[in-house]
Symmetry: C2
DNA sequence: GTTTTTGTACTGACCAGTCAGTTCAAGGCG
DNA sequence: CGCCTTGAACTGACTGGTCAGTACAAAAAC
């Protein structure tokens, strides 16, 4: 019921503000809010359970129980366990990319450099991970799996995240702020990894640190202020 | 049978040089080589299957079949599926840390700086991942799981990897090469993440790139040569 | 009166772990 | 050498349990 569990927290009683991806809820365009509330509860329950145990080890009965809902309801709302998971993934990644893109845009509007934009995106990424740790865990754990039914969903979802960063890197190269010798895709992947792993480590092994601490450490690394004492 | 699958390749016909952890193979002190060969086959089979599908989705029957061995043999050699997995983890991480540590030492002996050492470790890490991609996948996917039977094994194993890097960072701070304001644990985690994620991305999504390419990109990032055109 | 949820019961597949029995390899012995 | 013994290593059918997904009648909710 409480939030802090996943990327699906929005007030269940309020109007629907999910980034639309439903097949065709109803013709009215609003979508039944009762149904939507149930889905939210299922997302929240599923995201934590799957993050903790993995997809296969998590049972539909568990998800239903944690969501406070009958098992039949799960199947009334989602075609299968896998479909529930895929929609969860898409939903969460939508939130993440929106957050990153917004951070980059804000910096642009404020007349910041591209380094500033990257920095702001690091902060936004950390903020997202702090708010939705379970989702992040699940994302990392499933992203590099091959041989899985939802391979294609995973590819799409990865590309969305990386693309946001690649855009900023390319813009920086174009305006001369970054070396034109940087490898855009690899650097983007490395940056994602840096933030992801540092943040997960932070959450799992030293949760007492503040977001600012973590941000400062990563920012220093990004700007090459590691070598050179002082 | 071929290697390239996991951190468990050594020639099965050769003398036993496994990092010892056997209960009490025989009194002769050598350990049955037949048994050891079977274990190797099981490790190899398990590492790829678990990397592809995850621990829970991989069945003991599958592992046995891929290893060309009967199911009972798995249980003759390992107390349970989880134990097999834990020993696999420990074995692989042992190889990784040895490789990292060696890279750092070599640099030291050659009179290199600590930045050089980090650079050499990045290269060693990339080499390891290229040789044992399945193990790396599995490591990343399982490392941040909570609520799991092998929590403690995971903690130990993580600490071993991070410690190698932290040591170099601390040495660099001590000799004035690095700023004394860097956050050692966080920076170490970030570096691990940078290498891990960039390498997995490389393997999964742009395998045509050479190790040198990837190394160059990460090295540039490490040394802050991203900003500044040229 | 239509949509959504509930609760319970059921099915069929799948799977971790077991165990009684078989094979292997190495040493002893005639 | 060929034969036997012994214990370690291996086998694979079997068991007990679990779980995804189904079915459906009755109750809420709207």
């Amino acid at each position: 019921m409480t939030s802090t569990t996943g990327p699906v927290s929005s007030d269940a009683a309020g109007p629907v503000r999910i980034n639309a991806m439903e097949r065709s809820t109803t013709a009215t365009g609003g979508g039944s809010s009762r149904r939507e509330a149930t889905r939210q509860k299922l997302y929240e329950a599923a995201v934590t359970l799957i993050a903790e145990q993995g997809f296969s080890a998590t049972t539909v009965d568990e998800i239903a129980e944690r969501a406070g809902v009958a098992k039949g309801t799960v199947y009334y709302n989602f075609a299968s366990k896998s479909v529930l998971f895929e929609e969860l993934l898409r939903h969460g990644v939508g939130l993440l990319t929106a957050s990153l893109r917004e951070a980059a845009e804000q910096t642009d509007l404020a007349g910041g450099t591209k380094v500033d934009a990257l920095d702001a995106m690091i902060r936004a990424g950390l903020g997202f991970i702090a708010r939705y740790p379970a989702f992040t865990q699940l994302y990392v754990a499933e992203l590099w799996r091959t041989n899985r039914a939802w391979q294609s969903t995973l590819m799409v979802v990865r590309q969305q995240v990386v693309a946001v960063i690649e855009d900023v890197l390319r813009a920086g190269v174009a305006n001369g702020e970054f070396s034109d010798e940087i490898d855009v895709p690899l650097t983007a992947a490395a940056l994602v990894g840096m933030v992801l792993v540092a943040a997960l480590d932070w959450q799992s092994f030293q949760p007492e640190r503040s977001l600012d601490d973590v941000h400062a450490a990563l920012s220093r690394l990004l700007q090459g202020r590691v070598s050179g004492s002082r």
